[in-house]
């Protein structure tokens, strides 16, 4: 059924279609509509799930950990400070190998208070071991939620779906809403192969000596490496069922492009419009959206970018004292295999609009600079 819905509700519908059994969440702007609709769905029986209304995001994530350890399909949603408060337990979910799915609405971190979008909240969780998938449309958001449960349960690692505050979370778009009955053949009920159960007296997560800890960490890395193939397969299978696939990355008019702009989230859509405009002017330019950030799609990124003469990465985030984070990742994917100049552009922090004009400025600068003057360029910073 097609309906015009907001991004946050696309998350809720994805959760409904996935027949989640335990939801635990705490309110934070701009995530609240996700859990408001979910609690309504739980209350009126649209979803057969327990909703635990906890007193903090830390408890939301730990309740998800407990429920997932009991073998239940589990979901939560948060934003910014909430995600940061969860940080310790994000690690716990990974170490315990629990297939929890979390939707994070990208919001800038305080102080100063900001409710508007940037990526520093999710990207500062880069190294915890969660998969991260950045969405740019409401349809993609709903579909990615459903895909994520399948991926998470196959590889026994949690998945974070990320969407821009307001630009996506509160934007209304047409979504083909999937029902649980349609999805069940693609995503059957979750059956854990190890769970907390009184018939088996396992001790989960007890003290591991230096003799065994490292192997457990190696297994997580191995699962992350293997997950690239799982993501491809799940995406393909989803395509067969529902006619929509998204890829780990999404190249746009890159075939003969001399310059490629690398983006993520909603900036990707705006960038494509700018690419079209510049192509009309005869400029050989393309765009690459990075959808899956963890595991990082090194090969896909290299395959697209290695054919270009120049690469410009737009980052709605900053790793203080280093660069934009997507820039670092893209650079490492190219390092040692090509000498294409690559420049990083910081734009749109704290929800500042990344308009076609801003993207055009970046594109023009990327093209006109023979070699990037600086690897890191702040766009639109007032004197």
């Amino acid at each position: 059924m097609k309906k015009v819905i907001m991004g946050n509700h696309a998350v809720s519908y994805g959760v409904r279609a996935s027949e989640v059994k335990v939801i635990s969440a705490y309110p934070i702007t701009p995530q609240t509509q996700v859990v408001e609709l979910l609690s309504e769905m739980c209350a009126n029986g649209e979803i057969d799930a327990k909703f635990i209304m906890v007193e903090s995001e830390h408890s939301a994530m730990t309740a998800c950990v407990g429920a997932s350890a009991a073998g239940a399909r589990t979901f939560t949603a948060t934003s910014a400070q909430g995600l940061l408060l969860m940080h310790e337990i994000l690690h716990w979910a990974v170490g315990a190998r629990l297939p929890i799915v979390l939707a994070n609405i990208n919001r800038a971190v305080g102080p100063p208070w900001s409710i508007w979008t940037d990526q520093n909240d999710s990207l500062s969780q880069r190294d915890v071991g969660w998969l991260q998938i950045y969405c740019e449309s409401n349809q993609e958001t709903q579909d990615t939620i459903i895909q994520s449960f399948k991926i998470a349960e196959k590889i026994k690692l949690p998945v974070m779906i990320v969407l821009d505050a307001f630009f996506l979370s509160h934007t209304f778009e047409i979504v083909d809403i999937l029902e649980a009955e349609q999805v069940r053949a693609f995503l059957p009920p979750y059956v854990a192969d190890k769970q907390v159960d009184v018939t088996e007296s396992h001790s989960f997560g007890n003290l591991a000596s230096p003799d065994s800890y490292m192997e457990l960490r190696y297994m997580i890395q191995k699962a992350m490496e293997d997950s690239r193939e799982v993501i491809r397969e799940v995406d393909e299978e989803f395509g067969k069922h529902f006619g929509r696939s998204y890829g780990l990355v999404k190249p746009y008019r890159c075939e003969d492009a001399e310059t490629i702009l690398v983006t993520s989230g909603t900036v990707a859509s705006t960038t494509r419009a700018v690419i079209d405009e510049m192509r009309d002017e005869g400029i050989k330019i393309g765009a690459l959206k990075i959808r899956v950030f963890r595991p990082f799609p090194f090969e896909e990124v290299f395959d697209v970018l290695s054919k270009a003469k120049k690469v410009a990465v737009i980052d709605r985030n900053i790793s203080f004292g280093h660069h934009g984070i997507f820039f670092q990742e893209v650079k490492s994917a190219l390092y040692g295999r090509t000498d294409i100049p690559i420049a990083g552009y910081i734009a749109g922090l704290g929800g500042r609009d990344v308009t076609p004009t801003v993207i055009r400025e970046i594109a023009d600068k990327a093209i006109s600079d023979k070699k990037p003057e600086r690897e890191i360029n702040w766009i639109g910073v007032k004197e």
Binding site: A72, W92, G205
Partner: protein
């Protein structure tokens, strides 16, 4: 106190890693005898994170999910919900935390779970300091005690946090204190808790010979004297936090015997001990008043 039989079934095995005379270990053994094998434990950072034994071993015959320090009650909330959604409504979920994980870092999650009246037993085994990290003060450390962070020159002046009052304010169906020196009473309370729905909070006094500078063989004796000197009264709070009942059927013993037997109080002068005695007596009288008032409250369910 009515006598109860101690079940012969052992759900705790040898091979655990506790110190000699550990009260927390005795508490677990008795609690599991009362609860039986259909019990799943959630253990945050505390002595029991280690006592259980190293990966891949466990000294308990029930499943344990280890969790982060402040997360016992929230993890247990999720575990119970997950089990129920899987169709297992019988398993009792018990959060098993130390005093640090309960009185201090875990109190937010505990308060949240209790306010939601999550269906779990929350047991705090209280050895009155952070013993697993090497004897640092917690808000359960009693006034007068030495710890490594309250050295003799600055021993702890503030009184122990009144956790039972805090829990009673959450209107939960069952609250009790218990002591490893009174195993029959302890078992009876855990059995009673097992039959109640909602959040049940049991506060078990569990001496730590290592942290209290006490001979291991005196562990049970100290736990008994804590009760008879009225510094750790045995009680129950039922009827959603309203009905208080205090066990009084014991021969009182002098508080100074309890204090003087423990190295952690060695620095205290007689005058200081008298001060602690006065506070203890006031707390005791206050408790008895709560019991009397709760009896006079109209409209209470009879027990």
């Amino acid at each position: 106190m009515r006598p109860a039989k101690i079940p012969t079934e052992e759900l705790m095995t040898s091979g655990h890693l506790a110190c000699q005379g550990c009260g927390a270990t005795q508490a677990m053994r008795f609690a599991l005898k009362a609860l039986g094998p259909k019990t799943a434990l959630v253990i945050p950072a505390c002595c029991w994170s280690v006592i259980d034994g190293p990966f891949p071993h466990s000294s308990l015959k029930v499943p344990i999910f280890h969790t982060a320090f402040e997360a016992a009650a929230s993890t247990a909330s999720g575990l119970k919900a997950g089990l129920e959604m899987r169709g297992d409504t019988e398993t009792v979920v018990m959060a098993w935390a130390g005093d640090g994980g309960t009185f201090d870092i875990g109190i937010q999650a505990l308060s949240g779970a209790a306010e939601r009246n999550e269906d779990m037993i929350y047991c705090c085994y209280d050895n009155e300091a952070y013993m697993n990290t090497g004897i640092q003060r917690s808000s359960a450390t009693p006034a007068g005690a030495w710890t490594t962070t309250t050295p003799i020159k600055h021993y702890k002046k503030r009184p122990k946090k009144k956790i039972i009052d805090i829990m009673a304010a959450h209107s939960i169906p069952y609250i009790a204190t218990a002591s490893v020196a009174y195993p029959l009473d302890l078992i009876e309370k855990f059995k009673k808790a097992r039959e109640i729905k909602g959040t049940r909070f049991i506060h078990v006094f569990a001496p730590c010979p290592t942290g209290w500078k006490l001979a291991p063989e005196l562990s049970v004796s100290m736990a008994r004297q804590a009760v008879t000197s009225k510094i750790f009264p045995l009680m129950e709070v039922t009827d959603n936090g309203r009905r208080w009942s205090v066990w009084k059927d014991f021969e009182p013993t002098p508080l100074q015997d309890y204090i003087k037997a423990q190295g952690r109080f060695r620095h205290l002068t007689d005058e200081e001990i008298e001060g602690i005695g006065r506070e203890t007596e006031r707390n005791w009288q206050e408790l008895l008043m709560k019991e009397r008032i709760s009896l006079e409250l109209p409209g209470l369910e009879s027990e």
